[in-house]
Symmetry: C2
Subunit: 415 residues, 2 copies
């Protein structure tokens, strides 16, 4: 089936918000064999909305609207749809009672505007909204299906996943299953080169590469008949081949990111870490502590941004800083030694580098970063030559740092 | 004039990317009296693209396309436009030479596919692309204007700002000027209440409130005739009134954020800072060091995530931790004292709190945060009761921390 997403809202046309609803729906609809061919955005204007709706009904089997279900005069999606398809608006007593109760609880009386949210085109099926007061609805009309959902993503998304997807799934025995393979240490084009034959000849499963600053993800999607097939069998030959060619770069098959992989590794091994950060300025620690429960593995960090603080807090020698510079293998090694003395962590990692945009030189351009890792009485170092903006360099440095930890811990297992 | 944005690309319909181009253009076009009434997204398909183009030409004065200008078979925007309006495709020799040179430099020969990028509908005006190989173009056709830009935002954005905006500006003597007033410490609805009469009766300038987690921005936009009016005169009465009612919450009129305001304050006063972070885990330091040049004011931070590290690194007493808990006024004060001993910074700030989602109790629920600030031998503390996700609590804590520093430094000036 072909779908069109019709997003209603002047704030989209003024560029105040970006249309993430269209992206979300487009991404998930194919799971039920519904394919999005058009997105349209129109303002809160009766005439233009009606015209857009009629165009959508002329070229798509499914029209899904987002926005315009609220209580104000501006919200007119349901009203325009009912008019366009010649249906009356009828009240849903249960919804009306719910809205009444909502205001009673607050010690206020429901206004006429709010009652508007309890009216729906005749014969429509209600879609419950657990996150807000405006329910959605679905109506079948002359072999077409019209679905109306609210605009706020935190309301729209669960309604789509919990009501719309199941509605279409029941009509199809075909299902989709995706595996997200996450890679680090290889660029998008190098990766594509290594599997270009697989991408070109893909049928089922399909393979889609995505790049995000410093990282690559491959989505492998199998289409299968849930009654007679197993997606595992369909996927296996392709997954095996990808693993053979790209295995050294793959760090996850579960769509979890590097920091989570490192967190789980450390937790399973009952290890704690501490960091010393210079150019990343706290970003590495921030990433690890994004994870609730990171206190199980994370002890402390020293953000030694100034040279003086490297000397005072970590005991880096002034001589080293003068002779080799703050961005050097020697300095990062001394930062590691300092960390080992100051903390009781099992594994410590230090970072010093030039994140830019200024501070680079011919010998040490912006993007020069040293990592130092101390584990089991050994100090390992790594030099990175990164490119891009300050934000990118800081972010990619953290990815390398997590990967350094990951590789060190996995190597140990293989010895 | 009324505009429609027609974005071409199957990756948008598959939800692989979100249509930020439509947002960007919608936001900036009104500066030249062009108003976006429709967004449409369609795939790389000749028939459907042509149909969408004809609909757009029937309802808008300006049709601006993004995407489909590249070298592959899939890229067919220029071809479809020229067909739809009955123009021949003609080669632009200069562009062709440029593409040839691009490949020669790489020691490769230009393929036929790449030559495609040098062909444009007859009579069109070229739009230079400094960031890529595919130029855009503009063509006037029967009182309509069709503009074709490439899809990648880093190519499209400068082309739009440097070529499209000036093209339309020359036809209008009206200009827009916006001031962004940034506020902290007041919610969106309280702010709206305080100025609801101004918002309701707005004509010129217009007032638009925006909320972003923990912060509020007011955009005040004046429309003026550049030849005969000054935007300052139009804005002044409204800006004065807003300042009178909301001045205590306003921290910037220049659309710079809290961390930058703090950075500039510290720099101008030749002060340095150090932080001790517990629940924010490095985020406060990360925010400050997002600013290139922050080394002028930032010395170091201690991220003391574990209780043990609070004792070892900052000298917080075990007794205090047991008696009052790690999230308490007493603990944060001792963290401040520890920081003052460990660093030579003029101002130090410490944070301890419960970011959640777990770790809360009835007495200290998730969102309980203490800030401690040490400056000129005095220690000030502040208790926050925040709500929301772990990410939100950590982010809003940092905003409060920066605001605490800002208020302390400004108070000093007023004494």
């Amino acid at each position: 089936m072909i779908a069109e997403i019709l997003s209603v809202g002047t704030e989209l046309l003024m560029g105040q918000i970006v249309n993430t609803n269209a992206q979300f729906i487009s991404e998930h609809f194919p799971e039920t064999d519904v394919y999005v061919y058009y997105h349209t955005v129109v303002g809160d204007n009766e005439k233009r909305l009606k015209e857009c709706l009629l165009i959508a009904l002329s070229r798509a089997d499914v029209v899904i609207t987002t926005g315009g279900l609220g209580p104000t005069q501006d919200d007119l999606t349901k009203e325009v749809v009912s008019m366009a398809i010649g249906k009356k608006m009828v009240v849903n007593e249960e919804v009306l009672k719910g809205i009444n109760g909502f205001f009673a609880k607050k010690g206020r009386r429901m206004t006429k505007n709010n009652a508007k949210q309890a009216y729906f085109p005749e014969d429509s099926i209600l879609i419950t909204n657990k996150m807000g007061t405006a329910p959605g609805c679905l109506i079948e009309y002359q072999n077409k299906i019209i679905i109306m959902l609210p605009g706020p993503p935190r309301e729209m998304q669960p309604m789509f996943m919990e009501s719309v997807i199941p509605y279409f799934s029941k009509n199809t025995s075909h299902k989709l299953h995706s595996v997200f393979i996450r890679l680090f240490g290889i660029g998008e084009s190098s990766m594509e080169n290594k599997i270009s034959d697989l991408i070109k000849t893909q049928t089922n499963p399909t393979i889609a590469p995505y790049a995000k600053s410093g990282e690559v993800t491959l989505r492998v999607t199998a289409k299968y008949n849930a009654k007679s097939e197993s997606y595992k069998n369909i996927m296996k030959p392709v997954l095996d081949e990808i693993d053979k060619r790209l295995g050294e770069y793959i760090y996850s098959y579960d769509n979890i990111d590097l920091k989570e992989v490192v967190f789980l590794l450390l937790r399973d091994k009952h290890l704690t870490v501490s960091f010393a950060e210079s150019c990343t300025g706290g970003l590495l620690s921030k990433y690890l502590t994004d994870i609730s429960g990171s206190s199980e593995v994370f002890d402390s960090s020293f953000i030694t941004y100034s040279n003086e603080s490297k000397i005072i807090q970590l005991g880096v020698s002034k001589k080293t800083l003068i002779k080799h510079g703050e961005v050097s293998e020697q300095t990062v090694s001394e930062m590691v030694s300092g960390l080992q003395k100051k903390t009781t962590s099992n594994l410590v990692l230090a970072i010093t580098g030039i994140a830019g945009p200024s501070g680079g030189s011919r010998k040490k351009p912006v993007g020069t970063v040293y990592l130092g890792l101390g584990y089991k009485k050994k100090i390992h170092t790594q030099k990175l030559n990164l490119w891009g903006s300050r934000d990118r360099i800081r972010h990619v440095t953290c990815l390398h740092a997590f990967n350094f930890i990951r590789k060190t811990l996995l190597q140990e297992e293989n010895v």
